[in-house]
Symmetry: C2
Subunit: 305 residues, 2 copies
Amino acid sequence: MNEIRVLAPATVSNVVCGFDCLGFALKEPYDEICVRKIPKRGVRIINRDEFDLPTDPEKNVAGVALQAVLDAAGADFGFEIEMTKHIKPGSGIGSSSASSCGAVVAANRLLDGRFSKLDLVNFAMEGEKLASGAKHADNVAPCIFGGFVLVRSVDPLDVVPLNFPPLFVTVIHPQIEIKTADARAILPTEIPLKTAVRQWSHLGAFVAALAQGDYQLLARSMEDFVVEPARKSLIPEFEAVKVASTGAGAIGGGISGSGPSMFMLSENEETAQNIEKFMHHVYSRTSIEFKTYISTVNAKGIVFL
Amino acid sequence: MNEIRVLAPATVSNVVCGFDCLGFALKEPYDEICVRKIPKRGVRIINRDEFDLPTDPEKNVAGVALQAVLDAAGADFGFEIEMTKHIKPGSGIGSSSASSCGAVVAANRLLDGRFSKLDLVNFAMEGEKLASGAKHADNVAPCIFGGFVLVRSVDPLDVVPLNFPPLFVTVIHPQIEIKTADARAILPTEIPLKTAVRQWSHLGAFVAALAQGDYQLLARSMEDFVVEPARKSLIPEFEAVKVASTGAGAIGGGISGSGPSMFMLSENEETAQNIEKFMHHVYSRTSIEFKTYISTVNAKGIVFL
C-alpha cells in the first residue's frame, strides 16, 4: 500500500456562541487528496486545481503538516501529495484545514495508523499556524474527528467530541475576500463581564441542546453577543440572509469561521433547501458572485476512497 | 389539605467555570418549611430557628415569594409559613433560595399545582431580588428543578436541566461573613476576550462531561479563569482546601455562590469523606469555626413530607 486517497470535508468553526472553540464537519464541499510514499525525504506537492497554491512544502499548509508527521515518525522516506481542492481558500469553511487534515490522515494510514487522532490534530495545526499565524484547532479537530467538536484547550490539546442530533446545514459563500487581519482587528480585546456571562450561558445551553437533541433549545441558544456584532458589517447582506433563513425555518446560524461564508442549521433537508432558495433570493439582488452548499453535519469527517 | 411540609435543600451556584448560570442542588443541609392556607389575605411568618430573620413579609425572602404566588393566583386568602432553617444565612449555599423555593413549592401544592416549575422559579426570584438586589436564578432553579441546572437567560427565563452522572459533594462552610457588596466589587467589570474564550471553552466541556458522564473530562474542565482568581482572597485557606481536596481525590471544586463556603465534587462517598477529613485538617489549624457537609448532587430538589 503506497498510495491513499481521501476526501477531506469543509468545516464550520466559531459556531455562533462558541467562538474559538466549537466547530463541526460538513459533507460538502470537500477536497480530494492523494498521498504517496516516496523514497526521497521531505514532501513533494502536486496541485490539480485552479487555486495556484504554493508547491514549496514550507509554504503549503499540507506540506508543513506532512513534514510534522515525517518528523514525528523519524521517517527515512518522504511523501508526495496530489491535491484537487474544491474548497476555495479564504472561504471561511476550513479550506486550509481540509488540506492539512486530509494530508495527515492519509499519511497516517500509510504509516499503519501509528498516530492517534489527537496526534493528527496536532500535526494538522502546523498547517493552521502557517495559514493564520496561530495554532487553532476548531477546524482541524472536527475535520479529523467528524461531527461537532469542542476544543477545551489547544495547549495541552483537549478535543471533546459532542453528541448531536441529525442536522442539516446550508452554507452560502459570497465570493468576496475578507482579510484575516481585518476580521481580527475588528474584534474587541476586552468585553464586559456581563456580556461574557451571556455568551457562556448560551454556549452551555447549546452544548446541552446538542446532547439532548433539543432543537427548540438549540434555536434559543444560537446567539452571539461578542463576535457577530463586530464582524457582521464585513459581510454584505448578513442580516438579510439571517432573517430570510430564519423565516425559511432555520434553527439558527451565523458567520462560518471569520467569514465571508454564512451557515444555517435546520432539522431536515427540505428546510435546508428552502433556506438555500431564500439565500439565493437575497444574494441575487446583489452584484456579488456566490455559491451555496447543502450538507448534513458529517459525523465521519474524512473518508477513505 | 390545608398544610404542606417540605424540605428545601441548599444549592451551589457559580459552579467553577459557570459563573452566574450554573448551579446544582445538595441533599444536605436543608430547611424545614410548613405552609398553611389562612383566611386572612397576605403572608404571616413564624420563625422556629435561631437566625432571627424578619417576620415582616415584605422584608422576608419567603414572604415576598409567597406574596408573588398569591398575586398571580388572585387569591382571596393568605398563607402562614413556619420556617425551621438549618442553612445559615450568608453561607453561600443558597440559604435565601431554600426559604423562598420551599415556600412557593409548598404553596403551589396547596393551590393544586396550578403553577409550572418555571413559574415557581419566577416567584422565588422575587426572594433573591430582595436578598441580593438582583433577580438571579442559579440557586432557585436547581432548588426547584433538582440536579444540575443551567440558566440560559433570566429575562425571559430559560432553565435547562442537565443530564449528569452520580456525584458526591463535600462542602465546607467557614463561619465568616463575606459581604455581597465586597464579593461583587472585587470582580472585574471587563475581561480580556482571550480569558472569556478560555472560560466558555471550559464551560462547554463541563456541560459535555456531565452529559457524557466523563469524570476525567469533568476534572479537566473545572477551572475558573475569571471569578475564583478575584474572589479567593476573601476566603481564608482557599488554596490549601483546594490542594488538599484534590490530593484526597476530588474531581474539582471551588467557591460556592459568592462564598465563604467551598465545595468539592467526587465520584463516590468514600472520597467525599476523605475530602471532608482533609478539609477538617486544613481548617483545624485556623481559629475559624466551620461546618462541613457531605451530600449527593440531589436530583429531586425539594421533597414533600
